[in-house]
Symmetry: C2
Subunit: 657 residues, 2 copies
């Protein structure tokens, strides 16, 4: 029997996720009745291929088997497991027992010779050449038993007999499971969010793309990979919101980029104040020359001035009096936004148009999308849209901004989103961090959901940052940079912007959503250097580029979290090796504690000192034994240690306790 | 979306198990996109029925839903879950928010009236009568809003709107899952194993069934439900084993009942020394009059003298020299046993014959079988055999004697065995007991595997009993009687028989497997009275009749285990209420400790004393608060407490922390 093949998402209804540069690890239970020895193989192939590739599965014990493979192309793959009774191995195990018991094994050797003869008859080439004489020798009563046992256990004979197994005796796992393989960026990357209009030399007007591009070198220098822009389309004027989300906009108020559409166009147009579509194309290319990939916002909603309101009024919800419904969430009203009615009778035309919008931007070089509030649109729509895009463009990455209940967030990941915003911003206490990241890095969630850890967004300025100030910003930066392979930051974080619009609010004062906001990027209190340092460490160390293999370590202080990250075996993308991170969550006082290290799993000696290398300060310490002290200051609330093993000691691989 | 329907065994490949007298509890995740309210129902029916029965599922929180039903017939059932968007509830929630925000809701009331009108048009009877005027009132602008809201929330209107939902909007769970419902005995029972031949007045010969029946009143008086007999068939003489498993049998040695078959017949014959098939039938009836159900051994193997060896030599394995292979497990040889070759080319005839054997005994009144070493026969065979028996006789219970690796033991339970021998005999330390019974009483194992806790068998006399003596026998009895709803004992346990055949062996000296063994049932050191007391407590308290809801409690002593058992809500079969058991594992010294009680979950006051009733001694104690002291002596190593709640306090139901 073969069962419990993992990962398996909803019995194969949804795909597990992997990525280029990552080994996809599979486990299964396989066993036979009676005394038969079984052999097990992982089968995998790209979707549409005829033949399977095989990886032998290795017995972990307790009838649990494991194998892995490194997918070498993006797109849809599939995998399953096959087990078979290994008649030759069964015979050999039994033979060994009889020899060890001192029994006469002449009869058994004849039976083995029959097995080998039959295999030789069907084999070709080297296998035939190995098996034919082996059968003769096994049968040869003139040879002594140890000699014939040696023939039976000859590696060439074992290998040939493994290959010679008949297909008839195979038992397949009940299902062939889907796997989606993304490009590496879907797994690992540092994201920076900016409003291009704010990079203006004249605070009275929006910047252009050409002006905004001046900031690209600085963003690239901080080590970011993805530059995410809020919507760049024309903004409606009807019911436009003023600064700080007021109901009355002044004549110079620029409005929210999420109120999409005006006389000047809708979702496929560029706001004239930013430039033309050619300027946008230029900006994307220019960002590319700095190693930055532009991500765009997909916000499927309209301002009352959007061309669709005139051309396709049936795409919106109407009140009994015939007027179009604006967005409402009592007691809040959003008169500047008309939601689309995905269930309209004309839904096919609407869905096709939204596919067209997405393809339009793909063709303009955008292969990363941050999707606004996907949970308020039908699950079916996203599954369809992402599938349609992926048919031609499997490299396109969709990030889900679904700040909703856990199972709805997970459902979107299952339906095709490569990444998800997470609850990270609201997990600030030690037990919250430990619980949440344990959940994120364990099955089933890690099999299909990749969190992107944003430290802030234009809508989320957590109270911890508001009150904690610089130490809190540094601590959250360290946590985001190390707890997940994808993290993000909305501009202004590096300047410690932290004034809420009102006490108890998570909204920013003078939010960039409603106004142009030029900044002094050289303000003295900035943490640009720390951001840069973390992003460079992330690029240099494979352990920070994968979402598996996170272990929280014991430390007797509720204000300090300590954890080890490891890269999976065979990982690419930087130095191998485990990293220990320690972060103080206390923005006001020094904190310290003894961290308990799993020495054996880390490949460290229990009876000799070893060197740890703190990478932020580039200082080395001599540690000894399981428990070692760490001390953290509000000014430097995080440390990250590499372990320097004694010369010649092997690099440990994966799987800490 | 509907997913994560539980229990689900291997994506529905195998059936979950329930039994008469038990509520089958199901949970699922269900949620919609957007702001829609969902409603969820559990659907269930007997296999083959056209229409589904519905049970509304209740939201537990976090999009998790629950429902249960009590199957009222044995055999195959099926179940699944359906969810739908409740348009009316969605409208009502939205309306409430708007009313609370002080908004004008006239438009919304018209929309609600439209929903109700449409439903009224399709409804009949009371629903039509409730909905038609409701639609009119909702539309009536002359009524004030609170009045119209009252109409919208009227229970009759809510109920009618719930029933009026269209089938078109339903989302079904991906699979319809199988459920096997056994009779209650498969879940709850006390088993006694005896060798009928030992009840002889003359130690030089086997007893007959008529003589053995004299012991039935005593076994019944001890409170047992099932009387399990080792094979009752003719025993081979070729290579018969002598006393204590010696190779040479003397002329008066009776041989092992598992060496089945002689000139006098095979698997459908009765050993002449025991009597005739009519005597067997009489014995079964006689046992029945004492409330004892006879279970028989199904040992599908043969002595060299079995008629099949002559009639069907192709059903056995042969050596190259043509001789039949006896059983071997180097360095052990079992020359008195020929295993059957289930993979013989003539397998169809063999399998049919084994089905015939089983049906033969079913027709002779045996509806419980203990199956000898099922893991050494093909999984497929058992699935086929049990299914074939169950088609005509769904009440037949198969107990798997598979002392093998965990996943193989579990596989047999999935394939149809209603009960499994377990590792209980080898779990004697506190952490072993806690770990093992936590696993057995949690998903996934509890969904399909029911352990039968034997304290000993003719093959297993654990060292703990050999060295621990009477206190150990009493402790293991208490554990078996309370940790699972099915337990068993092999005769001689009540006499504290504990001499091994050799130091370090788990085999008995003078094992009944190889000789007739009359006993003095009135030996002074017997624990018959304690066995009786436990069995009577098991019949009197529903908490001891179910395998769910076991919680180990903290107690600061590694020699004492403490746990609470609860009956599920609505359970039948005795007094309701939680029971606390405490057992000392130390056979030599008194042990005590403070037990931590989950007061709230037990319905006990935290601020007032309460009475606990120790049922073995019939003594009452006044306890107070979370921590209370228990003291145990080697002479009385177990206690079991019922809680006496203050008058009028409600019985707590299920689900402790």
């Amino acid at each position: 029997m073969v069962d419990a093949l993992l990962p398996e998402v909803d019995a194969g209804r949804h795909a597990a996720r992997s990525s280029i540069g990552e080994r996809f690890r599979v486990t299964a239970h396989a066993f036979a009745d009676g005394h038969d020895e079984v052999a097990v193989a992982l089968l995998y192939r790209r979707h549409g291929e005829e033949s399977w590739q095989h990886a032998p599965m290795v017995l972990l014990g307790n009838d649990e088997w494991e194998a892995s493979f490194a997918p070498d192309a993006i797109g849809r793959w599939e995998y399953t497991t096959v087990a078979w009774v290994d008649r030759y191995a069964t015979w050999l195990v039994d033979l060994r027992k009889r020899v060890d018991a001192g029994w006469d094994v002449r009869g058994e050797l004849q039976e083995g010779a029959d097995l080998v003869s039959a295999a030789a008859a069907a084999a070709h080439g080297v296998d035939h050449d190995a098996l034919r004489p082996a059968a003769t020798w096994l049968r040869d009563e003139s040879l002594d038993v140890p000699r014939r046992l040696g023939v039976a256990e000859d590696p060439a004979v074992l290998a040939a007999m493994r290959r010679a197994r008949g297909r008839a005796e195979e038992t397949w796992y009940a299902r062939i499971l889907p796997l989606w393989v993304d490009r590496a960026r879907a797994r690992f990357g540092s994201w920076y969010e900016m409003f291009p209009r704010s990079e203006t030399p004249d605070p009275a007007r929006s910047a252009t793309f050409r002006e905004a591009a001046r900031r690209l070198p600085d963003i690239a220098a901080m080590g970011f990979d993805v530059l995410y822009l809020p919507p760049v389309h024309p903004i409606g004027t009807t019911a436009r919101k003023g600064r700080n989300n007021t109901l009355e906009a002044g004549p110079h108020d620029v409005g929210s980029p999420w109120a999409i559409g005006s006389e000047e166009g809708g979702h496929t147009a560029v706001h004239p104040a930013l430039g033309t579509i050619d300027d946008f194309d230029w900006f994307v290319r220019e960002a590319g020359t700095h190693g930055l990939e532009v991500a765009l916002d997909l916000a499927f909603q309209c301002s009352p001035d959007h061309p669709w309101v005139r051309e396709h009024p049936q795409w919106f919800r109407h009140r009994p009096d015939g007027t179009i419904r604006y967005a409402e969430n009592p007691p809040k009203r959003y008169q500047d936004i008309y939601p689309l009615n995905f269930h309209t009778a004309d839904w096919e035309a609407l869905w096709r148009e939204l596919l067209h919008v997405t393809l339009f931007w793909v063709e303009h070089g955008v292969h990363v999308f941050r999707v606004d509030n996907p949970h308020t649109k039908p699950f079916r729509f996203w599954e369809w849209l992402i599938d349609r895009i992926h048919r031609e463009h499997p490299d396109v990455i969709f990030l889900s901004e679904a700040f909703t209940r856990p199972k709805r967030m997970a459902a979107l990941a299952k339906l095709g989103f490569a990444q998800s915003y997470s609850y990270f911003t609201w997990r600030n206490a030690k037990h919250e961090i430990v619980d949440y990241f344990t959940e994120l890095t364990q099955p089933p969630l890690r099999d299909f959901l990749r969190p992107n850890l944003f430290v802030n967004t234009p809508d989320i300025l957590h109270e911890y940052l508001q009150t904690g100030g610089r130490p809190a910003f540094l601590a959250r930066l360290a946590l985001a940079a190390t707890l997940g392979p994808s993290w993000g930051m909305y501009s202004g974080y590096e300047l410690l912007e932290r004034t809420p619009v009102a006490p108890g609010s998570e909204e920013y004062l003078d939010s960039e959503k409603f106004q142009v906001r030029p900044r002094d990027w050289h303000a003295p209190d900035r943490i640009t250097e720390q951001v840069t340092q973390w992003n460079h460490l992330r690029r240099a160390h494979a352990a920070l580029q994968y979402n598996h293999d996170l272990w929280f370590l014991p430390i007797d202080n509720d204000q300090v979290v300590a954890y080890v990250k490891a890269a999976p075996g065979g990982a690419e993308g930087g130095e191998p090796g485990h990293l220990l991170t320690t972060v103080s969550l206390d923005p006001t006082s020094p904190q310290g504690g003894s961290v308990g290290l799993p020495l054996a799993a880390l490949g460290l000696p229990s009876d000799a000192p070893f060197v740890v290398h703190e990478l932020l300060s580039d200082r080395r310490y001599l540690w000894r034994g399981e428990w070692n002290w760490v001390a953290l200051e509000p000014s430097q609330p995080a440390q990250i240690f590499a372990f320097e093993r004694p010369q010649g000691a092997p690099e440990p691989e994966g799987i800490l306790p």
